[in-house]
């Protein structure tokens, strides 16, 4: 099988979920360094993510969590001057192989951003379908309605918005917008979902709803969540990676990676223990 074939998004046949459910969606990072211009923001990261489960990335501001996350779907390189060395493997295929098209990578690895960013000119319904249309995929006419209902139901938004699907996506509350953005991501049936502090701009009630959603998504997808909220990491993730940075201008590094329960109750590194105890960050 060629790389191109292996990475081609499965055809969308029915109501949206035509993805290959036999694959593992296993993401592995090997010796990865990501830089802006000449200065590395995070360096020498190696870790293997558990498939179909939630992994949390924690650490102080500026330690490169967002940067690392954005290397996974090759969004990092969109920033002018940004560079990546090392490898990110999805089911054994290096996403940075020159034969791999970054657009194909982003179709298999979806992303939810810190600030909810629904398309402002599109309705709720069209926001859900935006990914499919941006990828020029075709849907059966009835498929669109089914897909919209299925995705909005999956993110727990259907009952709230089913009577106003034509309203602009940005007319929703912040928490609803973020769930709409998650619906938009799962509508294109990715293998991996990256979330960069998805609750940091939301109220506690919306945060709880998104956390519940993360747990549910973790059953089907490989989910990576960057969070500043340690309780959130403890509640939703099976594994946790702790990063830190020595000081301004230094690159961030992976300190410890392991089962969330173990890492929180008995961290093996002093730095982790200090961070969890709130002594820095």
């Amino acid at each position: 099988m060629t790389f191109e074939l292996a990475l081609r998004a499965p055809e969308l046949t029915g109501a949206g979920h035509g993805r290959d459910d036999t694959a593992n969606h296993r993401l592995a990072v090997v010796g990865l360094t990501a830089s802006y211009g000449r200065s590395p923001a995070i360096t020498e990261v190696s870790l293997s993510l558990e498939s179909r489960s939630v992994t949390a990335f924690i650490g102080p501001s500026g330690c490169g969590k967002s940067t690392l996350l954005r290397t996974f779907n090759r969004l990092h390189e969109v920033t002018p001057g940004a560079r990546v060395t090392g490898a990110v493997r999805l089911d054994g295929i290096d996403l940075y192989d020159p034969r791999v098209d970054p657009v194909t990578v982003r179709r298999r690895i979806g992303m939810v951003f810190q600030r909810p960013n629904p398309f402002p000119t599109l309705s709720i319904r069209d926001n859900v379908l935006a990914g499919i249309r941006l990828q020029y995929r075709r849907l059966r006419p009835s498929g669109a309605d089914e897909l919209v209902e299925a995705m909005l139901t999956a993110v727990g938004l259907w009952d709230e918005v089913k009577d106003c699907l034509g309203r602009p996506g940005i007319s929703l509350s912040g928490g609803q917008q973020q769930r709409l953005c998650i619906a938009r991501v799962i509508a294109v049936a990715p293998d991996v979902i990256l979330m960069d502090e998805p609750c940091s701009s939301l109220d506690p009630v919306s945060t709880a709803a998104i956390e519940e959603l993360m747990v549910n998504l973790g059953r089907d997808y490989t989910v990576v969540v960057v969070t500043h909220n340690l309780q959130q990491a403890a509640r939703v993730s099976r594994k946790t990676a702790f990063f830190t940075v020595a000081g301004a201008g230094e690159p961030g590094r992976l300190v410890e990676y392991g089962d969330t329960a173990g890492l929180f109750s008995a961290p093996s590194k002093a730095q982790t223990a200090d961070y969890l105890a709130g002594r820095f960050g």
């Binding site: 194909t104 398309f119 941006l134 990828q135 020029y136 294109v188």
Partner: protein, 297 residues
């Protein structure tokens, strides 16, 4: 309260005085700008009304030496030449803006920006000469056509379209670009669905400003589109009259019945102003109708 009351009374008086002076100055500046404009409009309308009749819009100057006749040929010429210049300028201008904002390599785009800046200040007669040089190469010496005029005018219009489109493209929030990119949209798809819709107001404004810039141009048209008394609807061959050139020639080559020539010139000026308004409205309307719908259901 005590702090306010404790302030010396002079400060508040001085402030009120400054306020008065500033208000008067602003009004004076406004009047200085508005009076010539109003006077110009009043003059053009009052003097233009004399010949604002059906004949003016339906007949050309073919075989007319005294009173009568009209500017149908020049009106159609201006409409066609302006539309053709817009049709040339919009794709080239928007394409250049997309390149500059979305793809530009540092050195090349700085060079391009410099050229755009230079072109903004290009004297229109130079644009006319450039178009003339081009048409001489293609068709041969002495050739005149409406299309050549449109090419000359597009040299003036392109930089206007580039600037206003690029300005809007730059304002597209990174958020939205990343949302689309992260959903697996290719670069062209991101531009088509997030970039261009955001740039649409800039494109429309560019067309409106650009039409305003070119519609009254006389020198380049005199050079390459020429002048004729008859109607010519074919852009590619033959001389084509336009309203500015018509006004110039009515004014310049008056026959025995001078008033008839003067009146036609003023009416043509009035019609030209009306045409600018029409083009602005049309650009706005088209901008709304052409709302990109590729992402909508």
């Amino acid at each position: 309260m005590t702090a306010l009351a404790g302030r010396p009374a002079g400060v508040s008086t001085r402030r009120r005085l400054t306020d008065h002076v500033a208000t008067v100055a602003a009004w004076a500046a406004f009047a200085a700008a508005a009076i010539p404009l109003v006077s110009l409009l009043v003059t053009v309308v009052t003097r233009g009304l004399a010949r604002l009749d059906m004949t003016f819009f339906t007949s050309s100057m073919r075989g007319i030496v005294g009173a009568g006749g009209g500017a149908a040929h020049a009106l159609w010429g201006t409409v066609l030449v302006t539309l053709a210049a817009t049709a040339i300028s919009v794709p080239i201008g928007v394409g250049t803006a997309v390149y500059l904002v979305e793809y530009g390599r540092p050195v090349l785009s700085r060079l391009l920006w410099f050229l755009v800046d230079v072109m903004t200040g290009l004297p229109s007669v130079v644009a006319g000469l450039a178009a003339y040089a081009l048409i001489v190469m293609v068709v041969g010496p002495g050739a005149r056509s409406g299309l050549a005029g449109a090419i000359a005018l597009s040299l003036l219009m392109i930089p206007v379209v580039v600037k206003s489109s690029a300005e809007m493209l730059r304002l597209v929030p990174t958020d939205l670009r990343e949302a689309a990119t992260g959903l697996g949209a290719s670069r062209p798809a991101v531009i088509a669905t997030v970039g261009l819709p955001a740039a649409r107001p800039g494109i429309v404004a560019g067309v409106m400003l650009g039409v305003g810039r070119i519609i009254g141009e006389t020198a380049p048209l005199l050079l390459v589109a020429g002048f004729t008394d008859s109607l010519n609807l074919n852009l590619t061959t033959g001389r084509m009259a336009t309203l500015p050139v018509y006004i110039y020639s009515q004014w310049q080559n008056k026959g025995a019945d001078q008033a008839a020539y003067d009146n036609r010139a003023w009416t043509a000026a009035l019609v030209l102003i009306g045409l600018v308004l029409l083009f602005s409205l049309a650009a706005r309307l088209l901008g709304r109708l052409l709302a990109p719908t590729s992402l909508k259901g």
